[in-house]
């Protein structure tokens, strides 16, 4: 299979969907003149003209207008520049977009996608390094998606654009330039379905986005110690494919959740809560969580490194649920 970058995979998805459906349009800050910070919009203006547009620095307009557009017959894709700025349009997301369909009794579909580049990269510090899915987990009405590779990025972005509900699409900034195999031609990756990234028998590691790679590395290292790790790549964070997680845990009897964001109040809390509630009698050890320490992301390299979850955190957690010392 050919290999292309994550960034190009999302570009293919955009192009295919924009060709297929003239009501798909895309806008965001600084996407037209330079193709986006991560090159993820390159070439779209040439082909699609004013269906790709730059906007002022006005996040409430970007997200609020996506709702208005979605309600009136188009399928907007709005780019958030950095996921950190979801905060600026939080009311539009949680009080308008997430509630509109419900509070109006299902009168309209809301086919919109918010693309949100997230995660730690290059000492971008407290306000440009966040994983913010934890801000949105307690909000009914949103679909949260986080691809982990070029192939899933393409298939999930296409599915997200076709979905008749609001999707927040988290793209880890470190993934953009990474290459990976991507099937030729059209395909969709279903929303709401996790994938077993690596089968194993001793421990279930539930993870997503960039952390899938870190977990694969850890799994390899652990294999050398005779430990067989099963990796569940969530792909859709909400609604979550709990069944796949539980099936795996019922087999391995042990579970570690790994994400880049802050552990306290993060996605891992919900996963741990579900796993212990629904597979309690299958568990041979508590569900452990690995993620960032409970502070903002600091600037200086040694601090940033210390706060972020690393390989040995993952390995240590796996060993702990196996009651083995690191």
């Amino acid at each position: 299979m050919r290999t292309i970058t994550f960034s190009d995979a999302t570009l293919e998805a955009m192009k295919e969907e924009m060709r297929r459906d003239p009501t798909v349009f895309v806008y965001g800050e600084d996407i037209v003149r330079q193709g986006g910070i991560f090159g993820q919009f390159k070439g779209l203006p040439e082909e699609f003209g004013d269906r790709i547009r730059d906007v002022p620095i006005s996040e409430t307009a970007i997200i609020g207008a996506a709702l208005g557009a979605a309600l009136t017959g188009t399928r907007p894709v709005a780019d958030m520049h950095f996921a950190d700025f979801i905060s600026v349009a939080y009311d539009e997301l949680v009080n308008q977009i997430a509630k509109n369909r419900y509070m109006f009794g299902g009168q309209a579909n809301i086919p919109l996608v918010v693309r949100a580049p997230d995660g730690i990269i290059n000492q971008a510090a407290a306000q440009h390094s966040q994983s913010v899915e934890g801000w949105l987990m307690n909000v009914p009405g949103l679909i949260l998606v986080a691809p982990s590779s070029p192939a899933t990025a393409k298939g999930l972005l296409k599915s997200s654009i076709r979905q008749n509900d609001p999707v927040i699409f988290f793209e880890h900034k470190v993934l953009y330039p990474q290459k990976g195999p991507v099937p030729e031609g059209e395909y969709l990756t279903p929303l709401g379905k996790a994938e077993i990234r690596r089968p194993g028998t001793d421990v279930t590691v539930v993870t997503y986005s960039l952390m899938v790679q870190k977990c694969e590395e850890a799994a390899k290292a652990l294999e050398a110690k005779g430990i067989s790790v099963e990796i569940v790549d969530l792909l859709t964070l909400k609604p979550m494919d709990t069944a796949t997680i539980l099936d795996s845990v019922r087999k391995t009897h042990r579970c570690v959740v790994v994400h880049e964001g802050v552990v306290n109040g993060g996605l891992g809390a919900e996963i741990a809560a579900r796993v212990q509630a629904e597979a309690f009698y299958h568990l041979d050890a508590p569900v452990l969580r690995v993620g960032a320490k409970d502070v903002p992301i600091p600037f200086s390299p040694p601090l940033e490194k210390y706060v972020a979850a690393n390989l040995s955190d993952i390995e240590r957690a796996v060993l702990r649920v196996l009651h083995r010392e690191a």
């Binding site: 709702l67 369909r101 109006f104």
Partner: protein
């Protein structure tokens, strides 16, 4: 009453006589609906919050007379007048206020979250200033799909201090979106007078900051509102971009039904009621032109009362939603298709 800053062409004159009476009919219907809603709320037939549009009827009426069914509006917490003037069915509307299954929102919304997408009414809003960018997005749709639809965003004087106002106006201006921003300046944001909360003399003064036109009209003169809206909506439809139309009015009732109203005097309210009732004023105007008489007005009132009676009867006799209906309508797919989606 301050008068309008600009003379708009007298397009009202072009209306057939029946449409002129139609404007009166709409105002009378809104008044009847609101008067009844107040009573029903006080009698505990309507739960939640109710914000009444009494005294402001000329604005929804004069603006909406220029819209097609496929045009869109966004509304506010004080939305009943907008819903009615946009042509929604009174029965389903009343049923929604009652929280009944037959309501527009199946009882999930209530007064503060009432919408009828089938007539382009994109929703009241419990978040002040939440509608601006929804209207902007509707304008985007028209532009992307190259239709000549327009969107009208209604907003209060208090709402004009939300940051969303700024972002919406700037974006609508640079993209020349077909959106008219209609300000209902009723002199109060809840307990707070405009003289306190608004830094500009007029809401329309803010237009310059967005390179667009802003006008102030007497919002209790339906003719003036109509004329201004005709021109500005035609402009928007032709691609000339957005404008602000500020309509000066007065909220006759409390902010919500039950408001102790300690922030203003009874005299102030009574003077407005006496001298500035939009229905009385328009009726006097029509009567002066022999375009309507007392008989017309009583007939309209009786007709409106009948309509409301029927609406109330419909609402009263409609079933409450089934409790489990609470799990429907969150997503486009049903929870049974994908149980994880609504845990």
């Amino acid at each position: 009453m301050p008068s309008r800053i600009k003379e708009f062409p007298n397009r009202f004159a072009e209306l057939p006589a029946s449409d002129k009476v139609g404007l009166l009919r709409t105002m009378v219907r809104i008044r009847a609906f609101e008067t009844r809603a107040e009573m029903l709320f006080m009698n505990k037939k309507i739960p939640g919050f109710v914000h009444l549009y009494i005294g402001e009827e000329a604005i929804a009426t004069g603006v909406m007379a220029n819209l097609r069914k496929d045009d869109w509006i966004t509304s506010t917490h004080r939305g009943h007048g907008h819903v009615l003037a946009k042509g929604a069915d009174t029965k389903r509307m009343m049923a929604e206020l009652f929280g009944k299954k037959t309501g527009f929102c199946k009882g999930k919304g209530g007064s503060m979250h009432i919408a009828d997408f089938s007539v382009g009414m994109l929703g009241a809003n419990g978040v002040v200033g939440g509608g601006y960018n929804i209207a902007v997005g509707a304008g985007m749709s028209a532009q992307i799909k190259k239709t000549d639809q327009v969107a009208v965003c209604f907003f209060g004087d208090g709402a004009s201090n939300r940051g969303t106002f700024h972002e919406a106006l700037n974006l609508a201006s640079i993209w020349k979106l077909p959106v008219l921003f209609v300000n209902e300046n009723n002199r109060y944001a809840s307990t707070t007078p405009t003289g306190y909360h608004l830094s500009s003399a007029r809401v329309a003064d803010r237009a310059k900051g967005y390179g667009i036109e802003g006008y102030t009209v007497d919002g209790n003169n339906v003719v003036e509102v109509y004329d201004a809206a005709t021109t500005l909506i035609e402009n928007a439809r032709k691609g000339k971009g957005p404008a602000i139309l500020e309509c000066l009015t007065y909220r006759i009732k409390g902010h919500y039904v039950g408001d102790p109203e300690k922030y203003r005097t009874r005299e102030e309210v009574q003077a407005q009621q006496r001298e500035n009732d939009p229905i009385e004023r328009y009726f006097a105007f029509l009567a002066g032109k022999k375009a309507a008489d007392e008989a017309t007005l009583s007939a309209l009132r009786a007709e409106a009362e009948r309509e409301i009676d029927e609406a109330v009867a419909f609402a009263e006799s409609s079933p409450l939603p089934d409790p489990e209906d609470a799990l429907d309508d969150l997503f486009s797919f049903s929870p049974s298709e994908f149980p994880e989606a609504v845990r």
